[in-house]
């Protein structure tokens, strides 16, 4: 058993019970109002009744009955919809526990569903992602994968590679027979096509990861440049500690914001400056780390006290540590309520967003820039986006093997050796879509070529 709805109080909560003895256990605590007893209830029906602890009514509930194998886990399964108070949920769980139920381990229901053949591995993984998805974009990617979009794309690639492998094997095993072989130039073209597709999928991982995990945004700048104020303005709440004393934020504070379906995770950081304070120095080191890991860096400066030369110097200093900074940089000029217009114009070369965090002006402009920073075209075109680490490793394995195939074809290395790398590539793709056996290859060969003396 496990609560199937989020912790905390909602209008209703659902408790899921799955396993061989589900019905007999639930029957002990559930008293139906209608005539149908749980033991007689058909699958996919709902019973109304009361959860009873002895003679005491704990709650009025709806009970959904699922009979094996037509349930999420493939086992006999019951979902109790009770009122959402934490107290009631806890009472019901304790009650079920006293009748022999135990709490499910994390992911146990999904694992049972997988073990019972209700879904394959990548679907199971996608369900995990789906449940965990906290934004529209992540939801879209997970749905695409669960419907098998990812598998379909890869199957097409694998099919092409199988063709290629079959041709190589044909050349090897039937060299004595009167068969015509595809020339190497065509083979190279095929491999390079597959490589391009794999590279695209690997490339999508970065975006996929960003969508799944959220976009990491680091806000950096001099102490008291207004980073915490900006974060609060973005999140519209007082979360980070704000004070006028420079260096108040000693730790990195994270919070999340969804802009147009994409989740952004903000890390407010301690300011960057030379300091003797040990705790603050540690904070600054953490700031650098956060900045290095971030997908987007919001560089914030106080326009009322900063000169363009200072901005330039600080950015150059950052570039020393992070050579790729400019690809993910958004400069933000703050405290413009205290700055005159002529001075502001001098920051134009930095393409800075002009804001006043305190007055909450220019916040929407930042949101637009955050959104623009991300190339979501792949998502809009419904392309496959890889989000799973296991998949990306398999794709990289296939890529490596195919690169060696390419080298082998260029160097005119004998086919049986090239075939080793082709098989490696098939093996790695098979880790995602299912294995290729030699029988598959032979079947391929015989369906297409006239061979045999």
């Amino acid at each position: 058993m496990a609560p199937a709805t989020a912790a905390g109080a909602g209008a209703i909560a659902v408790i899921r019970i799955s396993g061989k003895h589900t019905f007999s256990v639930v029957e002990k605590v559930f008293s139906p109002v209608g005539r149908t007893k749980m033991a007689d209830a058909k699958g996919h029906t709902i019973l109304f009744g009361r959860i009873m602890d002895g003679n005491e009514i704990v709650d009025e509930v709806l009970v959904s009955v699922f009979r094996s194998p037509r349930s999420f886990t493939g086992e006999d399964c019951v979902e109790v919809s009770c009122h959402g108070s934490t107290f009631i949920q806890k009472r019901i769980l304790q009650l079920l526990g006293s009748h022999g139920c135990r709490m499910a381990r994390p992911g146990e229901f999904a694992m049972r569903a997988f073990l019972n053949g209700k879904m394959d591995l990548s679907q199971a993984e996608a369900i995990g992602d789906l449940i965990a998805s906290t934004s529209a974009a992540a939801h879209k990617v997970a749905m695409h994968q669960m419907r098998g979009g990812f598998g379909r794309d890869l199957s097409a690639l694998r099919e092409e590679l199988m063709n290629f492998a079959a041709l190589m094997e044909l050349e090897l095993d039937f060299a004595e027979e009167d068969v015509e072989f595809v020339d190497r130039t065509q083979m190279k073209a095929l491999v390079s096509r597959i490589l391009t597709a794999i590279e695209q999928l690997i490339g999508s991982f970065e975006l996929g990861n960003v969508i799944k995990e959220g976009v990491q945004v680091a806000i950096i700048g001099e102490p008291n440049a207004g980073k915490s104020t900006l974060l609060n303005a973005l999140l519209n709440e007082e979360r980070a500690i704000v004070s006028e004393i420079p260096g108040t934020t000693r730790d990195t504070v994270e919070d999340e914001l969804v802009i147009e379906g994409v989740r952004y995770r903000f890390a407010d950081t301690a300011g960057i400056r030379q300091t003797a304070d040990t705790i603050e120095r540690l904070g600054i080191e953490r700031t650098y780390k956060k900045t290095e890991q971030a997908d987007i860096v919001l560089f914030l400066f106080d326009a009322s006290t900063y000169t363009p030369q200072q901005v330039k110097m600080e950015l150059n200093a950052l570039r020393q540590r992070m050579p790729d900074l400019d690809n993910r940089l958004i400069a933000v000029a703050n405290k413009t309520d205290r700055t005159d217009v002529a001075a502001l114009a001098e920051f134009t070369p930095f393409n800075a967003v002009i804001i006043s965090a305190k007055e909450k002006t220019g916040i929407d402009a930042i949101k637009i820039r955050l959104r623009e920073q991300l190339d979501l075209s792949a998502l809009q075109e419904d392309q496959t986006i890889v989000t799973n680490t296991r998949h990306i490793q398999a794709l990289k394995g296939a890529q490596n093997a195919l690169q060696e195939v390419m080298v082998g074809l260029e160097d005119l290395i004998p086919g049986d050796l090239v075939a080793i790398d082709i098989r490696r590539a098939l093996y790695h793709l098979g880790e995602i879509t299912g294995a290729v056996s030699p029988d598959d290859l032979l079947g391929h060969i015989f369906s297409k070529f006239c061979i045999g003396k």
Partner: protein, 621 residues
């Protein structure tokens, strides 16, 4: 009658090898055959080896079997196929004198101690409890034994088809065997039907070879056996010609009377050994097919028409044949025919080729649904070894997929079964580069020796080769060559010249560089190698190991990874039906095949990766 340890039924390729192995290992062995005059008969083409099959013959020889020696002594042509490819593909093949082959087998067996012969048809097995106890012959004679190997070939209820005619028989002009299938089925065995075919044999005097392409043997012919058999000094050639659309049209006129097409043949034939009518039907857009004209021996005028297997009426065979260039005046000695026979789906066997239903009973060869001499022979060897070990109550002997093609073949058969006659291909082996013909001795002779099958002399040779290989390698690693010495050779190959001194070992990986050539061009290299050995096989071995080192390493690593799953053992009495989380198909297949490891389970068709995960979860891995 006498008591034996092992009885072998049938004296074809599988039976001969099984009888020799069991007797040589020390079992009192009886070989029962329907006709003593046809021991070791080549029923189909007069050739041994070929791609993947040549590797098997080398493996049999390395273990101490006889097929390599018999083939060497009867060969009339030798070719190493696929030399333009990597060393895993080099495949020895011989054309053989059909009569010499059979004669040499008989001689070898007659010289084998512990081996008796009996000419008769076995009509049933003597079974006591769950064990085999001997055989009963059609003459009513009982022979008792602790284990029995059945190698019935195409003889079990054999039925020959030529056009609309059907003749009971196990081979052209020979009777079929009856009784055994029926008995085994009554014991609970599954039986099926398979089909194979053979082409017409022609009068060589009626053929015009001048319009055909000659295919001679190798300039420097090799041989199969690692023993001191002799390579050929003279060889006979084969010839190649082609069919054409006129031939195809003529063949089509007989299609309505073809047993292949009118449903009379129910057994499934091999896809890779199709009859000529099958080729025309399935590949209608191909306007010609290759035909090999192969001599049947040194002296005989009979020739074999490889590529023209057919069961069409003989007058259609005749008419079509005469439209082929060079065969306009051809005379047929024996027409081609198709033959249907009983086989037992090999998933009923364990890795030792023992049946799961009857202890002590072994199957080898076509009875297991395979095709090809080499496939049959290696099963015979393995069944003979294990029948002996069963009779002596010793532990079974099996080979892994990463150790030998023989291991691949048997594991495929018993794990996946086969719907059509099974032939070996190099692509069936996961680790082809490890299973080369050149290292069969290093892979298998130590095992054969431990069994008691390979002689001390064989083992000594392998050890000597091994020592010399590392010796030569060390020399080449030590030997530093001046650019002036190497560059003329490299330039002759169109390879980039070197600017500095270089170890000899460093240039071997370059394309087209061969140690033998280096020895010819550079005295330093020649002297360094000759200080260790002059044996060409050893020198070639060094070249292969250096040239393909990277690939060999890669494959060895991959093999080790897979081997881990072979070590996750499954008990033979494991109750798969109790594991409800397995798919219904997996439960059924696993209970039927009873794999002995997770690795084997994963190769069963219908057992998905999810099922394997379930098994691993339940094993607590």
């Amino acid at each position: 009658m006498e008591h034996y340890d092992v009885i072998v039924v049938g004296a074809g390729h599988a039976g001969c090898e099984a009888a020799a192995a069991a007797a040589n290992l020390g079992s009192r062995t009886l070989l029962v055959t329907m006709n003593m005059a046809t021991i070791g008969q080549m029923s189909c083409n007069p050739a041994m080896g070929g791609i993947a099959k040549g590797q098997i013959v080398r493996e049999i020889d390395a273990l101490g079997g006889y097929s390599g020696i018999v083939s060497d002594r009867s060969m009339i042509q030798f070719r190493m196929l696929n030399l333009s490819k990597g060393p895993a593909m080099w495949s020895p093949r011989t054309q053989n004198d059909r009569y010499r082959f059979s004669y040499e087998w008989r001689l070898m067996l007659e010289k084998t101690e512990n081996l008796d012969f009996w000419q008769d048809m076995v009509s049933s097995l003597i079974i006591e409890g769950e064990r085999v106890a001997g055989v009963r012959t059609s003459m009513g004679v009982d022979f008792r034994a602790r284990s029995v190997v059945l190698t019935n070939g195409t003889f079990l209820n054999g039925l020959i088809h030529i056009g609309e005619k059907q003749i009971g028989g196990g081979r052209s002009g020979e009777k079929s065997a009856t009784g055994i299938t029926e008995q085994l089925v009554s014991l609970g065995f599954d039986a099926g039907r398979m089909k194979t075919g053979t082409p017409p044999r022609l009068d060589g005097r009626s053929i015009d070879y001048s319009v055909m392409v000659e295919q001679p043997g190798d300039e420097h012919p090799g041989k199969f056996s690692f023993t001191d058999t002799q390579p050929l000094k003279h060889q006979r050639s084969c010839h190649i010609t082609y069919t054409n659309s006129e031939v195809h049209d003529m063949l089509r006129t007989g299609f309505d009377r073809s047993p292949m097409f009118n449903g009379r043949i129910r057994g499934l034939g091999p896809r890779y050994c199709p009859s000529i009518e099958d080729k025309i039907e399935r590949f209608a857009d191909k306007d010609r097919h290759q035909i090999f004209v192969e001599p049947e021996g040194w002296d005989t005028i009979e020739v074999y028409l490889n590529g023209f297997s057919t069961s069409l009426p003989e007058e259609v065979q005749y008419a079509a044949l005469r439209k082929i260039p060079g065969l306009e005046k051809a005379k047929i000695f024996r027409p081609g025919y198709a033959i249907e026979y009983d086989y037992f789906p090999p998933t009923q066997l364990t890795h030792t080729l023992e049946t799961k239903l009857v202890k002590g009973l072994y199957f080898a060869g076509q009875i297991n649904g395979t095709t090809g001499y080499e496939e049959a022979t290696c099963q015979g060897l393995m069944a003979g070894i294990n029948a002996h070990r069963c009779a002596q109550e010793e532990s079974p002997f099996t080979l892994k997929r990463s150790e030998a093609y023989i291991g691949v073949l048997i594991d495929d058969l018993i794990t996946k079964g086969t719907e059509e006659p099974y032939r070996m291909f190099t692509s069936r082996a996961e680790h082809r580069i490890l299973l080369r013909q050149d290292n069969a001795d290093a892979r298998l002779t130590p095992m054969g020796h431990a069994l008691g099958l390979a002689s001390d002399e064989r083992l000594r040779k392998v050890e000597e080769k091994h020592t010399n290989v590392s010796g030569v390698r060390k020399q080449l690693e030590k030997l530093s060559l001046l650019p002036a010495t190497i560059n003329p050779y490299l330039e002759s190959l169109g390879s980039t010249p070197v600017k500095q001194r270089l170890r000899a070992v460093a240039i071997i990986p370059r394309p087209d560089v061969h140690l033998a050539d280096m020895m010819g061009r550079m005295a330093e290299v020649r002297d360094a190698i000759l200080s260790v050995t002059a044996d060409p096989e050893t020198i070639q071995q060094v070249e292969i190991l250096i040239k393909y080192e990277g690939y060999i390493h890669k494959e060895a690593e991959a093999a080790n990874k897979i081997l881990r799953f072979e070590d996750f053992k499954l008990k033979p009495d494991f109750n798969y039906h109790a594991l409800e989380s397995l798919s219904a198909e997996a439960r059924q297949k696993l209970s039927h095949i009873r794999p002995d490891s997770i690795g084997q389970a994963s190769r069963i068709s219908g057992v998905s990766p999810s099922d394997i995960s379930v098994l691993l979860v339940h094993l607590g891995k």
